[in-house]
Every structure is written in C-alpha cells, then in structure tokens.
C-alpha cells in the first residue's frame, strides 16, 4: 500500500525542514559569538535525527511505516519496563507484553481496526494477569498487573493510533490523506510543547501544578494553548478536513490534552524519583519524555475524526 502524499503535506514538510535549518543556522551563529548554546545544539541534533527518522518512516509504503512505528513502540515499552520496579516472577508476562507489539501493528497493517481496538484494552488485559497467576507469585500481584497494563496502554495502544490513521478505508474521506492528519497532530503537539516552554520561560509566575512540576506555570499553559489554537486556524484546513473555526477549537482542545499528557508523565517520573525516562534522545531524555503529549492527543484526535468525518 502506498501512502498518499499530497501537495499540502509536502509543503508542510518543507516548512518543517526550513524551520529546523533556520534554527540550526541561528544556533551556530550564536555559537560564533562565543555564547554557550551547546545544550541547544545537542537538542537540535537529536531533533534532526527524529525528523529524518519520521520522514523515512512515512515516505515509503505502509509496511515501512508500520514496522518503524512498531519499533518506536518497542523502545518506549522497554524504557517503561526498565524504569519501573518489576518482579522476577513477571518475566513471562513481560515477554507476552512485548509480543503484543508485532501483533497489534500487524492488525493495523491489515486494516483490522476493530481487533486493534480490542487487542490491548481487552485481550492483553486478560492475558497478562492470567499468565502471572499461572506463575503463582501473589506478593504485589495487583501492583504488577496494573503497572504492566498501564505501560501497554501508553506505549503500545496509544502510540498505535499514530499508525492507525493510515488504515485504508479511513483514508478515503480525508482530503490530505491520513498523513495530513498525522502530521497535523505531530506539528501541533510539538508546537504546543515548545510554546508552553517559551511562554513559561518568558512570563511564567504562577505555578499550575506545584507538586508535579514546579516549572509549569499558568502563563505558559495559557500562552501555549492560545498560540496552538491560532496556528491550528491555518494548519487544520491545510492538512485535515476541519474548517478554520473548528480547527481553532480542536487546536485549543488538543493543546489542553497535550498538557495533561505532559503532567501525567511528570507525575510518573516524580513517583519513581527519576529526572528523565531514559537517555536515548540526548538533550530530550527518553522516548516517553518526547511522546508524553502525543499519547493523549493522537487517540483523541483519531476518534474525533472518525466520529465526525467517516
């Protein structure tokens, strides 16, 4: 199956690369003036790698997309299992949890959407505790069950939605193809993260979640949500079937959801007493640090589209 790449999608990718190139030149320009921007350059370098990886993932056919997204899902799940305490007795259950990744992405690949909806929320939900009960270690049983399934929902099911946009029959009603929707959600999520950070840095005074993350402020939140809504007025009609007004409202909603995803992951990290979820993306932390907002926005926007436009 080919992935539909329309003119608008292409233009949006050119813009992304242009922005990245501009930031890179800017960073080296500042560096020439002997100012310390090494941190920023490390982040930028990683960002280039992510963008190039995703460009490859979406440029060939649906098979490549599914395989590469399954790999990201695998890295995320591994990161999650490595940071939470696991029992020795859970090893078999964890193995089955990993196996669900190829199964789920295969289901998406063949377009069996209903089975994708059920696989992890229902079948793995039953299978994991069953496997653990057969092993028979009862100490901390519930805790382990809950932890493993939460990880599956986040790292496999929610991330699977990024791939599910491409399912064939779903593609038909989208003027810019599924890729338009996926890029819309990716751009918006990244833009929201970035704007919340910028507004928080410049105007931040009143903490919004003092216990979870003292650096997040009301000013950052409101600034991020509004600017995401505004950019969505242009981006939504450009890349998705949404109209400008609808785009504004959906943009605001997605920005709020992205923020929620962010603080959920922060709460988890605080609970575990760690700063980042991993070290695989230098300057950004782990995979889960990067996709935390996406975990909320991708499935919600998917169901919004399939409810109103299918």
């Amino acid at each position: 199956m080919e992935i539909l790449v329309t003119e608008h999608v292409r233009i949006s990718v050119y813009i992304l690369y242009a922005v990245l190139a501009f930031l890179t030149l800017l960073a080296f320009g500042i560096k020439l003036q002997k100012k310390n921007v090494d941190n920023f350059i490390v982040r930028l370098k990683t960002f280039w790698k992510i963008v190039i990886f995703l460009t490859i993932a979406f440029s060939f056919n649906f098979m490549t997309t599914a395989v590469l997204l399954a790999f990201i899902s695998y890295l995320a799940l591994k990161e999650y299992f490595s940071m939470i305490p696991t029992r020795n007795a859970d090893r078999r259950a964890l193995f089955w949890a990993y196996l669900s990744i190829p199964v789920q992405f295969y289901l998406i690949y063949i377009g069996w959407l209903n089975m994708f909806y059920l696989l992890i929320p229902l079948y793995l939900f039953l299978l994991i505790p069953a496997r653990m009960a057969i092993v028979g270690e009862t100490k901390d049983f519930l805790k382990s069950c809950a932890c493993i399934h939460w990880g599956l929902m986040v790292c496999v099911y929610a991330l699977g939605y990024v791939c599910a946009y491409f399912i064939q029959d779903f593609k038909l009603s989208l003027p810019q193809g599924a890729l338009g929707c996926v890029l819309y959600i990716l751009y918006l999520t990244i833009f929201n993260d970035f704007m919340q950070y910028v507004f928080g840095k410049s105007f931040g005074k009143h903490a919004i979640t003092p216990k979870v993350s003292p650096h997040k402020t009301w000013e950052g939140f409101i600034g991020g949500v509004l600017s995401t809504g505004i950019i969505s007025i242009w981006a939504a009609p450009f890349l998705t079937p949404l109209s400008a007004v609808e785009g504004f409202v959906v943009g605001l909603g997605l920005a709020c959801c992205g923020f929620l995803g962010d603080i959920v992951m922060s709460s988890l990290k605080r609970d575990l007493g760690i700063k980042d979820t991993g070290t695989i993306l230098p300057g950004h932390g782990g995979i889960l640090d990067r996709v935390d907002s996406l975990i909320f926005t991708a499935p919600l926007f998917f169901h919004y589209i399939s409810y109103f436009y299918n």
Binding site: Y74, L75, K78, E79, F81, S82, M83, I84, P85, T86, N88, R91, R92, L94, F95, Y98, D271, L272, G273, I274, K275, G278, T279, I280
Partner: protein, 217 residues
C-alpha cells in the same frame, strides 16, 4: 585480525545489543579507547561480556578479550571453538592445584603486553538479584607487576533482569553501564587493593540506585 569474530560482532552481537537490548552509558569518558587496560565489572548474566564488548567499535573488537572459566566455557569442542574464536575469551583454569604450579595468567599477561583490553568479572561467577559478591583477589595477582595498566571499575544494571542466571528466556530491559575512574595497582597489599576496587564498583552501584530509587529493592 580475526575475521570470524569481526563478522559475528558487526553482524549479530552489536545490532542485537544496540537495537534490541539498548545500552545507556554513564561516565563514557572514563572508558579507555586503546589497551592495555582491564575492565572490571559486576557479573549477573551472560549478556555482561557482550554488552561491554559492544561499547567498542567493530574494528577494535579483535583486541577485547573477556576472561572466562575454562571448566565452563571450554569443556566441549564446540563451546571451545565458539567462545575462543567468536567471542575471543581467554580461558582461566579455576583449579587450585594448577594455580600453585603454573602461571595461570600467562595468556592474560601476554594479551596485555600486546596492548589488548581484558574484561574481568572478579566476583568469579554470576550472582543473583544484583547483590555484589566479594571480589576474588586474582585480579590483584594479575596486576601486581603491571602498575601501568589502568583498571576500570564498571557497574552494570539490567542484564540481571534481561537474562538472569538459570533462565533461558530473554526479556528486553535497557542496560545501564556506569564507568568509573581508572585504578592502578601500586604494590599495595593484594587483599586491600582488591577491596578498594570492589569499593569503587560498589560506589557506582550506589550512584545508580541514587538516580533510580524505585529500582532499589
């Protein structure tokens, strides 16, 4: 150069360690890029040696040799071929009677003289549940005349969950490697020096659990 070992690492071991296992290195600046040197680490899994060797590029892999028990790794012709040719181990005879009558480190010393890098697990055998066992003094005997060879303490976490002792099923977990500053054996008491080395690894372990408090059980 050993072509079989190069191909085995470049084609199988390194892709497996980098893509499937995933390694997170802390203190990578302490890792010696060329020999002679001795890497010393805690030992909980068969993966330990492969993961440490994968820190080096495939072109250097020929110079890295883990030391391993002869009675376990070379007791059948197939195992002997596999571990000597493809992994490049230096077999060590664990028989106390032999140890009195010949220099069991002869081969290791020769490798160090040729500027190669050794990997030694001084706990002697794989442990369980991430508990650091007392180091054996063999490493001190090996280095007592080699005061210029840096000994690098390393703490590995994660391999004991991926592939513990007495388990055949591999389950992926990220491996964290903490590398400490080099130690040199300067004609001290062998027991004392071994203990100092063990203390270094224990401190790296402490650092790991400080950064990952939830994993400390």
């Amino acid at each position: 150069m050993n072509i079989a070992k190069y191909l085995f690492f470049a084609g199988i071991v390194k892709p497996f360690v980098k893509l499937i296992v995933g390694v997170s290195v802390h203190g990578g600046e302490h890792l010696p890029l060329s020999g002679p040197a001795i890497l010393v680490a805690n030992h909980n899994s068969h993966l330990d040696a492969l993961v440490l060797m994968s820190l080096y590029s495939s072109t250097k892999i020929g110079c890295i040799h883990p030391m391993a028990a002869a009675d376990y790794f070379c007791n059948t012709p197939f195992k002997k071929f596999f571990f000597k040719k493809l992994i490049g181990i230096i077999p060590l005879k664990r028989n106390p009677f032999l140890q009195m009558h010949q220099d069991i480190f002869a081969e290791a010393k020769k490798a160090l003289k040729q500027k190669e890098i050794l990997i030694i697990f001084p706990e002697g055998t794989r442990g369980t549940n991430n508990h650091l066992q007392d180091f054996k003094t063999g490493i001190a005997h090996l280095t007592q005349d080699l005061s210029k060879v840096p000994v690098i303490p390393i703490f590995i976490h994660g391999t004991d969950k991926s592939l513990p002792k007495n388990e055949g099923l591999f389950v992926p977990f990220i491996t964290d490697i903490y590398i400490g500053k080099a130690l040199f054996h300067k004609k001290e008491d062998n027991k004392k020096w071994t203990f100092a080395l063990q203390e270094q690894v224990r401190q790296l372990q402490e650092q790991f659990f400080k950064e990952h408090p939830a994993l400390n059980k």
